[in-house]
Symmetry: T
Subunit: 149 residues, 12 copies
């Protein structure tokens, strides 16, 4: 069975507990659970991991090599600053879809730059937690088209 | 029934007829047809329009006001240069999803900038023609969540 | 009788029909009608044209050569991007007043740059539709002072 | 009766006395006198002040609070460098029209930037001394429309 | 017989009718006629097209695919701003020579940048209307050397 | 009792042990102890934490939510690079005072930029270890004025 | 007795009289009076001066040489533009604390730059009028530590 | 007799009284006196003026029109920021030599830019107070060569 | 005996296991082992450490103070972004040689910048794993020349 | 008879001997010989000179004054860096055509800038050694049109 | 026997004769002699050349083609400015190691840029004259590994 | 007797022979002769050298060490590009005065930058050939004041 790692970066653990009247009450646990469920529908086994530590995310990406078929990554603020994450992704050579809850290109200038993009299959941003499900759809299609599942 | 306009900008009419061994044999007609079919599944009536003329795209966006519930736009190269398109979208105040076949953030620096993004719901890029279907999914969810259908 | 062309660029056709509670209910037709009336007072015959097509605006500028004594131009978003419009104005060598409804220098950085300014007599911005009438006043004075009427 | 302060910044005291064969023979006194006369026609009492001292201009702006209904300001070279003037205008919260004799956007790059613009109603430039009269017209219309006279 | 399309962009229709004492009296018709004649000498059938509409130029480039062996393009002001034209040229994959009447690298900074150059065989600028004939010479040599005629 | 977290970032653990003849012999322990004592005077219970790990600092900020009334942060070098820390602070929505031992605006250009500033109440820099005590004073006043204690 | 000059720059004379419902009702006179009182507590005699004239501030700084032991300076908008003030401070070689009512690093980009910082002991910003008192505390500690009182 | 105004800008009044062991004991009075004496040798009557007020310098430049044959200006820090001074010099149309005590091109980047240079005959910097005498020599030669004395 | 710490940053743990046909089959363990062996030859005891965590690298640098005589550091991607690492190295004041496997100055622009360089003895890049041995040679010479061993 | 100097700059002596399977086997001698022959056809006597020394090229340009009617220059890498060559060309005031073998505007950013262009008649690039012949054609036409032969 | 050319650029002839108490007494002759000796140890015949003339260095590089197996180059100040040297190295297609006595990345910003790097095997800087010997070591290893000796 | 070298860089050999009606008829020989004569008056023996070769100028500067007491340098266009010249001057550690015929700060932006300035005593520009004599005056004063003659 196709295995996919859904990775979340800094501050995403606070999802749903922060200003729920604004950002909605969907917690990270709920997002991850929705991913697992959506994965089942697509025939993909989803593992989830979140960390506020750049090094822990790099470690997780390294470990995905040989054990996972693809990655979904919301690197949060590391998106704009972490060349180390970019290199980690390039090192494992797995298809990766970049996700952002908000439309980063409609926010502050420094959020337009992504160090993840050059090593990602594609980017999905602005659709809140639904973006993760769209990312899984995209990954499923890609793996099928590439004969990788 | 929810009505959606799928807009394609300059050079996208050549889709599928240009270096098919590289870009695939999917023509714009096939993409548009897949959109219509995917729309039916989502309960959305899809209209499609392509032009190499910036003015014609602006006219089409204007006309969508009051007749459409949302837009999917692949503005091609105009994405990076057309403030007029940005203003047109802001003027009609309809939810719009920005789509790109390729991952524009992994290409030349001048393709990273999007004048569409600040007035779009979100952006999907890098997944080829499947991006249009993901955009329709995102638009359907948004309209439902916002009580607009 | 002195003949003046009042040219409006992209999205200005939506004037008055978009968020009237915010921008007011003055339509482009009303603005153009006010220009015609104000022109009569100044002894100037006003012709009006609007297009969302950069090429159509260039064609109109070309045609004004030999048939008009001056131009009033609100190039909308093309102000900030169109070197072609700048060259067109330079080609016909007629006095032109640049108008903007909003104070473009108080908005986003990319709206501060004008490719029209280097070939315009002067610029009037921030006074809404009244700016067109001030522009006609300025043009009338200029033509009189220059002995062109 | 509506009271308006017409403020002129550095070097504008030399108007008309410098290279009259080029810039014309209109002195600052004549411009101010024309403003007073044009104000009478518009039902506005005009006071005029010029200084080469940035501090004196700031003082004058401060004093206009509670005594004037609006301002016309040609800040000369301070336009491009004085954040203090910008803050002064923001402090008194009066409608202000920015005027320049020449079309500053058609001159050296460093004259394109205006620190006055973000706190001004609008800008009029390129029409010589007539610009002051157009500014008074614009201010009169604004005050009437805003029910401030 | 080798077929070549000579394309001219915005404002080039005014050639020869504008300030003939400065720019010379050579009209666009005369340039095109000289191209046709020079083409005959080189064994190439020349078709000419001019438009002030970016979209029309893109359409013409698209249509040249499969019907022409090469292109000569003076994109005028679009040279510096049109990524869409660049993409159109890349799409049709035909040899193209970029021509400019004036030496664009000796003019304003914003005219030094060419979006056409990265997809052109080469660039010829500064030689007035003779540049078109040199471009045809270059194209003829290229096609011969590449065994394309 | 008001609870305040005093956070120190990378390399601040070396305080006082490095070149004491230059930087003085005040160790981090002494600074933290002075903070606790000063807090007692202000009626505030001070907790201290230092880490060279960006992730650990983010975790600590997250945990302060609901348990602390405010933060004092010397983010060291992360000040200039960590968007993740900025987002963490914005997420917990607690008043935070930014402290630096040295006057960062008088040092290398890259130390002038602070990603902490946009989400901080204010900044105190250049006063060595005394800056922490001033920060506690400022925080105490702010909490009192805002009725948060 | 230690003597300290508290200097305020352009527009700070309006403090408290401008939009009191927003900025509070504390006037400059009240701030200066609080400084004098706080100075008494610290054993420092405070003199206060405010001017909207850059030259007057420079003169005051020059005069402080030999008569004062230190300075507190809120240079307002001159902070970002006045190299002359920077040079004046460097010339008198007295310890100076830079104060700003608002957190300048959280405002417009052009307010992040300080020409005062390179010649100041340190900077305190974002704490409103309390910042002046913190500045006096910092100055007192510095003078004591340096054996200057 | 040829009359020359020697103008000094902000902070130059402190010359000689500040760190005399470093900068030497030459005061501004001594520099001015040396200028007068050197002027006598060159047959030029020297007037001297110093101010820390930009406005006062502008006033002095205006007044030199018609009364002086040339100017020597050390604008101090205003050199790098004052467009108003540049415009004042351009307005009076007198030959002016720019002087700096230090070699400004060997100091901080922001001291390399001179707004005086574009309207000055030439620049002399780096030779301390001798620079003024060299400037008078240069001015004398220029006036003689130009037949202005 | 001279003790040297060889530090490796993010992603270097993957050395040799990633695309061995391209990058060679030399693993990090083999590199470290070669360093130890080369160190023996030079009379230096080598300790090795690798981490993907910036904080762990900072901790290791801190711990080297007083226990090691020098460092060899390949900071990987942190080279280009970590001011915290730079500060850590400056804090321990030990001679450090910067190593990179690839010639970073021949790669993407963002890899040309090194925050390690300003606090390093020197830099060696582009020679693959041999670079570490050259670094040890350089360090040995430096320590000998400086009388530090 | 019209005399023309064909100048080649650094590294062009290696033409044809370097990677002939890529760049072709045309040597500089062959290019120069083709120039001479083409010149005969155009009634122009061609002299050729190549040097890797900037100074030698400047000397050659100086010597062309009074002895040559025009120049063809491929300055190689000096094109992008040599202001001295630009000044040399401006000094001799002869018509010069700038040639490049490759399309410099399609290569690295630093090759887009030409210091030769502002003092050249025009530029021809991208057509390999044929560019020299086109340059001679252009020069011949120019000299004829200008009545210089 | 493997032949290597050691090239030194501008000002390196002064090595050892300039401020020997600071830079040491090692002259260029001594460095070159050490290279020859070290080469013998590595089985490489070393030839040395120094020039202050960019053209002479280019000539020497050209001549190394076919006669040498590799190069060691300290281009001095030409490193940062000479595209011509870069092109020369690319033309001869020999392995080259870039050496600098000082750590150029720790000096002025303009010394960080190297035009040599993109065509060099690697770079060694900051180790004084020992860098040349390390470069020979690196070159020896490279040639052996690549089977070129 | 004090010995001074007057060095002239590229294109200055053409002085006086180029457009004499514009630049005057003063040749380089005349300038050098005036320098020699002026030197005699100042008790300084002047040697002159001009070259269009950067390397020859560097050689000359090197040779001045130990034989000359100071230099006057007009580096022409090399002023703006030659780091090698800057390093050469720093190497010989002799007082040098930078001269330019024109006011380089009033010309094109790229002529404002001087690589000579950071290693020069001072700069004199804009006074034509008289600048050389002023430079000798400045050098004489400096050498006297520094007790170097």
């Amino acid at each position: 069975m196709t295995k996919i790692l859904v990775l979340n970066g800094p501050n995403l653990n606070l999802l749903g507990t922060r200003q729920p009247e604004v950002y909605g009450a969907t917690t990270l646990a709920m997002v991850e659970s929705a991913c697992v469920k959506h994965g089942q529908m697509l025939g993909m086994a989803i593992t989830c991991f979140q960390s506020n530590h750049e090094g822990a995310l790099i470690d997780a990406i390294h470990e995905s090599k040989g054990t996972q078929s693809g990655l979904v990554l919301n690197a949060g603020a590391f998106t704009h600053t972490s060349i180390a994450l970019m290199d980690a992704i390039a090192s494992v050579d797995l298809p990766l879809v970049e996700v952002h809850l908000s439309n980063i290109h409609a926010r502050e200038e420094f959020r337009h730059k992504s160090f993840i993009a050059p090593v990602a299959l594609g980017q999905i941003c602005g659709f809140g937690s639904q973006g993760y499900l769209l990312a899984l759809d995209a990954l499923a299609s890609h793996l099928t088209a590439a004969g990788l599942r």
